[in-house]
Symmetry: C2
Subunit: 210 residues, 2 copies
């Protein structure tokens, strides 16, 4: 919520970026479970205590890492678009499906609990984005419920696709699935509200929460 944050101490961003970078490497090499904070600190060449100054634990780091990855994926495609539109919804679905498949491919060491963690993080992100889209819209059901349904539906699709034996092209799959999600949105939307300050709002979603 601290939207007007004075610029960060460069030491902080540097260290955090180094942590993220090394974490990504270790994730593909060793897997999340066997990865140790000391391993990470060694690779980053920081003190273990410094890690704890940035993240509460492994799990907080994973959450942040996955969130960043996902947001980058979204932002690279939406180019600053900030409110709901059919295109943006399609882009969102596309991103989630692609992301889910990449997780299966890149992080081969995944296990049950790891995937659950990733799932939770991504759903939180989708939830957050939907909440933002709904911010100035009146609906006949609670925003939170709507966003929860949407997040589950989209992630479910992604999960299905990533497991499927014979997969159609990603674009084809998304085109086919899109109407099923769009209809949810359309059903809960009663009438649109003001659109003022949309770019600022989008930035809030993209940059807030850590």
């Amino acid at each position: 919520m601290s939207s007007i944050s004075r610029k960060e101490d460069p030491r902080i961003t540097r260290t955090r970026n180094l942590i993220l970078e090394s974490f990504g490497h270790l994730l593909t090499k060793k897997g999340f479970e066997t990865l140790t904070i000391q391993d990470l600190a060694d690779k980053v060449q920081i003190n273990r205590a410094t890690f704890y100054a940035h993240f509460q634990d492994k799990y907080a780091l994973l959450d942040y890492f996955v969130s960043q990855l996902f947001r980058q994926k979204i932002e690279a495609r939406t180019l600053g678009a900030c409110q709901y539109s059919p295109e943006n919804l399609k882009i969102l679905i596309f991103a989630v499906v692609e992301f889910r498949s990449q997780v299966r491919k890149d992080w081969a060491h995944s296990n049950q609990t790891f995937e659950a963690l990733v799932e939770g993080t991504i759903k939180k992100q989708i939830f957050g984005l939907f909440m933002h889209w709904l911010e100035e819209v009146k609906t006949n059901v609670s925003h939170e419920i709507s966003a929860t349904v949407a997040a589950s539906a989209i992630y479910g699709l992604a999960n299905y696709y990533s497991r499927a034996k014979k997969r159609p092209a990603l674009e084809k799959f998304v085109d086919e699935a899109f109407p099923l999600v769009a209809v949810i949105w359309n059903s809960l939307r009663k009438h649109g509200g003001a659109r003022a300050g949309k770019d600022i709002l989008y930035c809030c979603w993209a940059e807030a929460n850590f």
Copy 2:
């Protein structure tokens, strides 16, 4: 001389390495003269004051940078050999000639004073290596004079080669020039001394002086 230095604070080595890396890039992009400490600090993403905590000024940095580059070139070829041998002398000449040519090629922004600075640094390095080779050897002339002559001779060769209109292959040139330098060495050497601890001595040359 502080041979047994306890391990360095990781922040120091990290910062110094980042400085060296960015300096290398800026050197090829902007050239030494027009390059500003602020430019460098921006690129490295450190505070300007931090730079001055590491180096006295631009010139000290250049000296250190060139020294490091040159030493790496030598060490990559001598593989830990630490005292004089004809092969090592030939390697040294080769390295200097190659280095000098690379300077002309990579740092196109070079000017008179810049090249003089580089020349000084490299000569200092050759001088230091010769002094080390001579450490346990008795000669009929002062070590410093011998080392100075050798440094000038070798750098002169390198300068000549890098300017030459039509250059023979580097190996050919070095083979041709080598005896002219070797004869200097042979003339000043009266009789070899003890060879004990040679590896340690070599390390001193390679890692001392900053």
